[in-house]
Symmetry: C2
Subunit: 514 residues, 2 copies
């Protein structure tokens, strides 16, 4: 069962040789849409019940905007009830305010081939976000640097399986806190052409990010077209701090994409059930989306979510758990009903300290929940380890493989006559093998998704090679990808303008390390 | 993002202490049904097209029964066209012959608590099948022995997450080939009470297996009730050899469950597309099920499948691939339409040589495809490595964890008022944490699925402990489970009768090692 009949191998080799002689491997172009239907976990009655609970939260508890008088005034003017910093909403109001957000929109790239669409049947995969550490099997775990950040921008640009450059791929901890956003946005804009996320950690940093993008895309173009996103984390439960709401308002005013992501560990930042996590996520996200629409009607938004579970006995955070995956699937559905693109948590996440079996068990399950349920944008699709503390070079490569596999699976399969290969049955017959049939010849080169990690080979060969586990075999891939990386061309005036902007802004303020 | 706010931890510890003082952990009882709907990959039009292709195969190519004149005569009498050993069917005939098979039936245990139901909303998970080797991290990879076989029966009996004892959990290679079935069935019947699979490698071995079960359950009971299964592998493409068809007839005549499993590596034993694999699997399986029904109308059957993919460039077998997972999901749907319980391939399978990241990426994806699509019986749910060549003690433990997680996920979640925890919002408020709320107190002990593998702990502790990967941390668990194992009670007369049966049969024939 474990190995093909020996008689089959020589035929296969012959086919392989013939195939190699006659064709080149085409460049891989990753799918950007799904062709199979989303999985609908909850029925409409259950979804309506969750939506009612979100309304209950917004009516009876509400959300606080701390230190942002502008936001409070906007909500009051829109009919919400504002008392002090607390905003409550009568049922349906928050959803109504969200209704001007587009259900589908583009994030433009300076290379049209890399422009992506959010919403509809589109799927956009992105690398991990926010890790203060990186690791690789040679140098171990260490604080992330700008060099690491640039490496992950390059790796993300180089793979077909990620559609978007991400944001804080890892924290460049060797750069002062108040200047990191400049180096990060510069890297996204110059080392890659994939859409990206800008700074959000203060109003000024958000504005710098938008201003830098304008140097590349032009202010006029960006008035009507999104080229970037801002990641607005809700300070769950039910708090928007002014850092986040200010950044939100900068992105919305610039007509750039606002992704609102409540951040809930079930049982700590909200009640411990998947139903409660889904409802609270919806409540919190609707308020942020509503604010974006009040700032600028029609500005592009994403209904985001970062949520997971804990071992409630030990306090350890857990990822890819069944409860988290259930919440992820429900949140995708809630997003579809809200009518905006959705990021439903998940991605390839794990609490594991190594890119081992648990890491991939957690990550793979979370990715299935995320993608099968019809999410539009997947954050943390590659590299994420140790509950987000670490961006791992090897896990990045392993995750890319699974991104490719999942994107392939989302294409489904044809049930046409060519797929059924009737001619192959006429060529062969009961008991005969199909490897040398014309049908196999026509399709073998492109039929199956292929891993990019060197094969382990049979046990005996593998043992002689030192029994390298998959993460160990992945090391050569990221090194090769960095060696093969080619920086995309950029107009030298634009490059100079970006460099000058960064230099000027850096010179304008003293280093801050907190 | 990676760690909870430090202020939360002391509160959590307090809750944990209070919880421990007032309650015991209840014994884990694994769910046996699914409460969430199956994922429907294909629409009805596509499914009908696949079914038409199965009919095309059966009409235009047919299936050969090699060396089984009895089967050929049965098919001829039932209206099939028999020419030599080849049987062809007019469209719809094979499906009609399957229609007397029950859609749902029980596999009885001698412990009523372990009786399982196949079909409907029921889910039955089983360990790996057929590996000639075993491995553990201390003794490495080696030929499997009867001791290993017995160990895996005990481990399967001990875990709540497998419902069924399986069949050839590993090959007891230290026992002569013609006597293995006696020791294996004896182990299933005496070391466990979970339903099991008997021998199928010859007519006599199948009969021995049924006769041994009759010593435990009584011949009269077994006339009307299934207590065991036979695994009938089709010699794909389109061949039933007489070993398999003879064994099939023994199980069917005894009214015991016949699981018919076509075995297709796409591109070798059939055309390389998922559509072709699904259609050929259906065609081949319907013929075996039809034969079982011709032997005994109404005898219990399972529509089985073992299928996977290959790297068609290198010839390496691949598991958990997107193409295999698509076929798995489609086969579940075809089984639902055929109206019999379905085993749709999949399980936790991998070609990896170690219980590493790839192993669990493959296994986890395959398990999602299998379970989400609504399969009734999952073979190879634990332990399977290296394309089935190896049963791994450590992967067994890691797979069990994921079985538990998936069974938990299949329960979905409630959207009732208690789940929403409104009282907790009144107790807290924006920005406050929920760990010490009454709602968390009421539910924290049972809210989340918990892994059975010792936690890694934070990176620093983990590093001090030698950075043990998950497979390394799993070793202590299987050892503990074996140490804690208690043999279920059995009437001593029955035990003596079984021992005598085995001794007599062994004495009746010389050892054969092939």
């Amino acid at each position: 069962m474990g190995n093909l009949d020996a008689s089959v191998k020589p035929k296969l080799r012959k086919i392989v040789r013939r195939g190699r002689a006659t064709r080149q491997s085409p460049a891989i172009v990753a799918p950007r849409t799904r062709k199979i239907r989303p999985y609908a976990l909850l029925n409409d009655v259950a979804l309506a019940t969750v939506e009612e609970q979100a309304d209950w939260i917004l009516q009876n508890i509400g959300v606080e905007f701390r230190g942002d008088q502008v936001a409070l005034e906007m909500f009051a003017a829109a009919g919400a009830n504002v008392q002090g910093q607390r905003v409550t909403f009568k049922p349906g109001l928050a959803r109504d305010l969200c209704s001007t957000a587009p259900s589908e929109f583009k994030l433009h790239s300076r290379d049209p081939a890399n422009t992506v669409t959010l919403g509809g049947d589109n799927v956009v995969l992105m690398p991990g976000y926010g890790s203060p550490f990186v690791s690789d099997l040679e140098k171990g775990r260490r604080k992330a640097t700008l060099k690491d950040f640039q490496n992950f921008v390059k790796l993300t640009y180089s793979t077909p399986w990620l559609h978007h450059s991400g944001g804080t791929l890892c924290e460049p901890t060797d750069v002062p806190v108040n200047k990191r956003h400049l180096d990060m946005v510069l890297a996204h804009l110059t080392l890659s052409t994939k859409p990206f996320m800008g700074g959000v950690t203060s109003l000024e940093r958000a504005q710098d990010s938008v201003d830098m993008a304008r140097l590349v895309f032009g202010a006029a173009f960006m008035e009507n077209n999104a080229v970037m996103q801002g990641n607005i984390n809700v300070n769950s439960p039910l708090i928007y701090d002014d850092t986040m709401s200010n950044a939100l308002r900068v992105y919305a005013a610039a007509n750039q994409c606002v992704c609102v992501s409540p951040a809930i560990f079930a049982g700590a930042m909200g009640p411990l059930s998947p139903a409660a996590v889904a409802a609270q996520t919806l409540a919190e996200a609707m308020v942020g989306i509503a604010l974006a629409q009040l700032v600028r009607r029609g500005c592009p938004v994403v209904f985001g979510s970062f949520h997971s579970t804990m071992n409630l006995k030990s306090g350890a955070l857990t990822f890819g758990s069944p409860e988290a995956n259930l919440a992820t699937m429900a949140i995708s559905q809630l997003g579809h009903r809200l009518g905006v693109p959705v990021r439903s948590g998940g991605g390839q996440v794990s609490a594991s300290n190594a890119a081992d079996g648990q890491a991939m068990q957690d990550s793979t399950g979370a990715m299935w929940a995320t993608l099968l349920s019809g999410t539009h944008q997947v954050w943390h699709a590659a590299g994420w380890l140790e509950g987000g503390l670490v961006m791992s070079y090897e896990k990045f490569i392993m995750d890319l493989d699974h991104c490719g596999a999942m994107l392939t699976m989302l294409q489904g399969f044809g049930v046409d006559e060519e797929a059924f290969g009737r001619d192959a049955y006429h060529e062969t017959g009961p008991g005969e093998n199909f490897l040398s049939t014309q049908h196999t010849m026509r399709h073998f080169a492109s039929a199956n998704f292929q891993s990019d990690i060197p094969e382990a080979g049979p046990f005996e060969t593998w043992s002689e090679n030192g029994s390298p586990t998959t993460d160990q075999r992945a090391t050569s891939r990221w090194k090769q990808m960095l060696a093969d990386y080619k920086k995309p061309a950029m107009d030298e005036n634009i490059q100079a303008a970006l460099n000058e902007f960064v230099a000027t802004r850096k010179a304008s303020m003293p280093d801050e390390w907190y």
